[in-house]
């Protein structure tokens, strides 16, 4: 009984949470509805820092995405799995108890969308939903309460408490409080928050989130966007300034980063987090894709001089078009002035990181034959960097490494091509020698250095030699994934994990139709081919299964089933694209296409 009651409550709440979103255009467009939306924002206390709107269930239950999803084989497989079957039996019990199908319940409860908010003052989270039928909502609420009461009684738990506040009756079921106010259902975890909302509902003159400056300023995130088949299912508004002041000790808000990788990947975003008053997030459902955007206002002066390496002078740093090579898993193009970053490390990082960088600088300078790593080596390349990863094929199983890694390459433009090509070639030869010396000390395979000139494209590489005296019972060592290569194509230098990829990159059109994305504002672009990624993962399926067995202590068959499910989910996705830009409004956009049948 207790379990069933929890299922009913959890399901109802999860349904609202997952169902979402906001406003279908017809409802949102009406003046009456507009005023209702506004009033909800006016009910929330001014101390609220996160506010989200979820679309009515109709918006996604009737969307082509759902129709497509439920017909896919991976979905059907998951739907029939023991875990889901168990949950489905719980749903059936919930439907029986409520006397209605869950889908009908979701559609009715979320007919005008769902509103969610977090108020740090009370540590309360609230959910507000407006049903389209006041009487129906009252009947459902009564059924849930009756069910919860009987369940508590049967299991000897404390009875369901009820209390009245300014004419609104609220109920406490386990850790949740819920109340019905006309057509509105309110669910929260804190009674103080419930009272604050009731106060504002009755007295609109009280200060509320609706007239908080961060919220009014951020109203350019539209809640009523529905263009053609594109449905906005989720919109979130965040009071970044308040969160920043409450979490001032957090690493994300420090002027100097404590982590090199964090700065390299997120440096520009950190500047925004440290200055922007608010941020917004939206999630849209398109007929063939899901897209999400995280955005916030931006001003050039927010980027300190030290972060120029990330966004370029006056935030004009732009990524080149990503490399296009057939069958690639991922391509990344970005603007990062690595030399500037290295030389400005004193401003960017704390003492600990700077100590490590000083040590690394000394080692790398030795490795690069006395050339200063920051200014001579990193300074030899332009800040527009491009990376690509493609799957590898091996001649036979006997000549395959036990773990098969994709090959990857980085392309950059040389500032002084003629002088630097010679330097890079010499450094590369020293590097191969260094690897051989270190490898020999540890009994690792050795590299054989080779070179060729493909037309006017010189390529230098090292390939690992199979030791005829040695038995490779479990496949070749991981090193055989690599044949480190250096190639030149025009003014570009290519560093690749394999000679084959170096050749393919060198032969591709590195200059492209134009040197920058036309009218582009992107700082970083990532393109991912999920099917190619799936192929690369499948070639290492045994290793993934073994890792799952280690991490979860599972049997091989259970681990294999989980990996198969993961790969099945990837089967649903086509291409994905991530785009980071710092234009008038900084935005991080993610778009994932799904594979149409």
């Amino acid at each position: 009984m207790r379990c069933y009651c929890s299922i009913v409550l959890v399901f109802a709440m999860a349904g609202w949470l997952s169902s979402t979103c906001v406003l279908d255009a017809q409802d949102a467009g009406s003046p009456v509805e507009k005023s209702m939306q506004e009033s909800v924002e006016n009910w929330l206390p001014a101390t609220s820092v996160i506010y989200a709107k979820l679309a009515p269930a109709d918006a996604w239950l009737d969307h082509p995405f759902r129709t497509w999803l439920v017909e896919t084989e991976p979905f059907k497989k998951v739907w029939r799995s023991p875990e889901v079957l168990k949950a489905r039996s719980g749903i059936t019990v919930a439907e029986f108890a409520l006397g209605t199908k869950i889908e009908v319940l979701l559609r009715k409860l979320t007919a005008h969308g769902v509103h969610l908010a977090f108020d740090p003052k009370t540590q309360g989270v609230v959910l507000l939903a407006q049903a389209n039928d006041e009487e129906w909502l009252a009947r459902m609420a009564k059924k849930v309460i009756d069910f919860a009461r009987k369940d508590a009684e049967a299991n000897g738990r404390s009875p369901i408490e009820s209390a009245e506040y300014l004419g609104v009756e609220g109920y406490k079921v386990e850790d949740g409080i819920f109340a019905v106010m006309g057509p509105w259902l309110m669910v929260t975890n804190k009674s103080e928050l419930a009272k604050a909302i009731i106060d504002r509902k009755l007295d609109p003159a009280l200060p509320s989130m609706g007239n908080a400056s961060w919220h009014t300023k951020s109203n350019d995130w539209k809640l009523d966007t529905e263009v053609g088949d594109v449905a906005r299912v989720l919109a979130i508004d965040i009071d970044l300034a308040s969160i920043r002041s409450a979490m001032s000790d957090n690493d994300l808000f420090q002027k100097q980063a404590k982590d090199f990788g964090l700065e390299l990947f997120l440096g520009g975003i950190l500047s925004l987090l440290q200055n922007a008053p608010n941020a917004s997030m939206t999630l849209d459902m398109e007929p063939a894709a899901l897209s999400a955007e995280l955005s916030c206002p931006t001003q050039i002066e927010w980027f300190t001089e030290a972060r120029e390496y990330y966004v370029g002078p006056q935030a004009t740093g732009r990524a080149l078009p990503p490399l296009q090579i057939e069958g690639s898993i991922a391509a990344l193009s970005t603007y990062r002035n690595l030399s500037e970053m290295w030389l400005r490390s004193g401003d960017l990082f704390g003492q600990e990181v700077n100590d490590q960088l000083a040590q690394a600088d000394s080692t790398l300078t030795t490795l690069f034959s006395g050339k200063d790593f920051g200014s001579d080596i990193l300074g030899a390349i332009e800040p527009e960097l491009r990376l690509i990863a493609i799957p590898q094929s091996f001649e036979s199983d006997a000549l395959s490494p036990s773990l098969k890694l994709p090959s990857f390459a980085m392309v950059a433009k040389l500032r002084k091509p003629e002088a630097m090509q010679r330097e890079f070639k010499r450094i590369f030869q020293s590097f191969i020698g260094f690897l051989n010396v270190v490898g020999a000390m540890e009994g690792q395979p050795q590299l054989d250095l080779a070179s060729e000139t493909n037309g006017s494209l010189p390529i230098y590489w090292g390939s690992y030699i199979v030791d005829a005296d040695r038995k490779y019972e479990n496949g070749l060592p991981i090193q055989f994934n690599f044949s480190p290569a250096l190639a030149f194509s025009g003014d570009f230098v290519i560093l690749s994990s394999t000679a084959d990829l170096a050749r393919r990159v060198a032969e591709s059109n590195l200059n492209g139709p134009s040197e920058a994305v036309e009218d582009g504002v992107s700082n970083t672009l990532v393109e991912l081919n999920v099917q190619a990624l799936k192929g690369a993962l499948e070639s290492n399926e045994n290793a993934m299964i073994a890792q799952n067995m280690l991490e979860k202590g599972r049997t091989r068959s259970d681990a294999a089933r989980e990996i198969e499910t993961l790969l099945s989910i990837l089967e649903l996705m086509g291409r994905a694209r991530l785009d980071l830009s710092f234009a008038e409004r900084a935005a991080l956009q993610l778009r994932v296409e799904y594979v149409q049948p």
């Binding site: 073994a546 280690l550 991490e551 202590g553 091989r556």
Partner: protein
Amino acid sequence: MYSLSQSIAPSTPISAIVPTWAWQPWSPSDEEPWNEARVQLMFRRGGFGASPQQRREALRGGPKVTLAILKGEDRSAAGRRETFELDSEAIGTSVRTGSSSEGLAAWWLHRMLQSPSPLLEKMTLFWHGHFATGAEKVMDAELMYQQNQLLRRHALGDFRPMVQAISRDPAMLIYLDSVSNRKAHPNENYARELMELFCLGEGNYSEQDVQQLARCFTGWEIRRKMFRFNPYQHDSGLKTIFDQADIESGEDAIDCVLARSAMPRFVCTKLVRYFVCDEPNAPDSLIAPLADQFVRSGYSIGEIVDTILQSRWMLSQWSVGRKIRSPVEFAMEWMRSLEATTNLEHLARMLRPLGQAVFYPPNVKGWDGGRAWINSSTLIGRSNFVVDLLGDPNTRFDGKSLEQWCSDQGIQDHKSWIDWLNESLLAIPLSDSEYQPLFDRDNEGAASASRANALITVSRIPKFLLS
């Protein structure tokens, strides 16, 4: 709770135990029936505990069937062995690719938990402590893996080929500095430990024997992770060891050491300590019949282990609670009894503060064992271990929650759960003063919390340390 034979009282001094009686095979009688307590004793000593299903089979079948289960020679093991070896190989390949000794520990714990031949893993653990080699010095997961497989291959075989093989093992050569044992500067480390720790024991050799033996091993090197004999670094002159003057090679020298009368006594004493009682040491008179059998069998380890595990002495009430569970035994018995699975890498990490990280013995002597397992730090560690394990979301019991597992075992209420724990996890049953508080403390709350709390409490009772 079940009781064992009272044919020798638990208080009988070890010196009063009659050798001819001790090593006779135990057989059931009206006074001494084959019962649940003996089943569990045999599984604890010869393996790492057993699942309820295995215990039921053993109870039906008697000691011979129980030994067959421990050796993986029962009918049900045949079907599981192939799947298990495939699983183990997949994990082994994965961790060796990552070259992680911690991953290697996880691989071995998987074998201890899931092997259809737990006695083989128990003996591999014994030899790992005997021929102790530490990954922190070897610094090569592949070599540690190879050594572990070598120990497993010979674990229940003959002692002579085992010693010959371990003397050429690359991990051992690195650990005991044989790689720097050259004609001009013989390194005595391996020679000394071969006699003192591996074969004869202290007082059974002289310094001159060590020096002569070290000369025999000169030129035993490793190249590209494999043994290599370098004749240019080998002292090919004749050496005199134990008054035998015609020894030239390392192989001959090992045979000379193995032929000493102290060797069978030394090895059998260690095996008795491992399987029967931590202390006091068995007197020579009690070891002598085993040592004779060891010589007669051509140094067959398997024969001696069979004799010990089926013996009257080991299956008597006297030997119950005479051993302190090592951290690995503590963890594995707990998990195998409850059919538990968890994150194996995390499990390997959790064993470190308990004082027994496999592949990382404290020194060349291995783990001291016995009372040395227990100090204030390791006691807290054992307590935290159970709490951590139950708190890990990856911990499942035959793939289920603890509550569901109990339900499937027919354990419906708190009392039946406490009784099950008392009978299944403890070598010595709880006294009334230990039993009663379990009801005061754990009778409240949801079933899942109550099951876990009771399990934690029982695992903290001092008696749980005993095997």
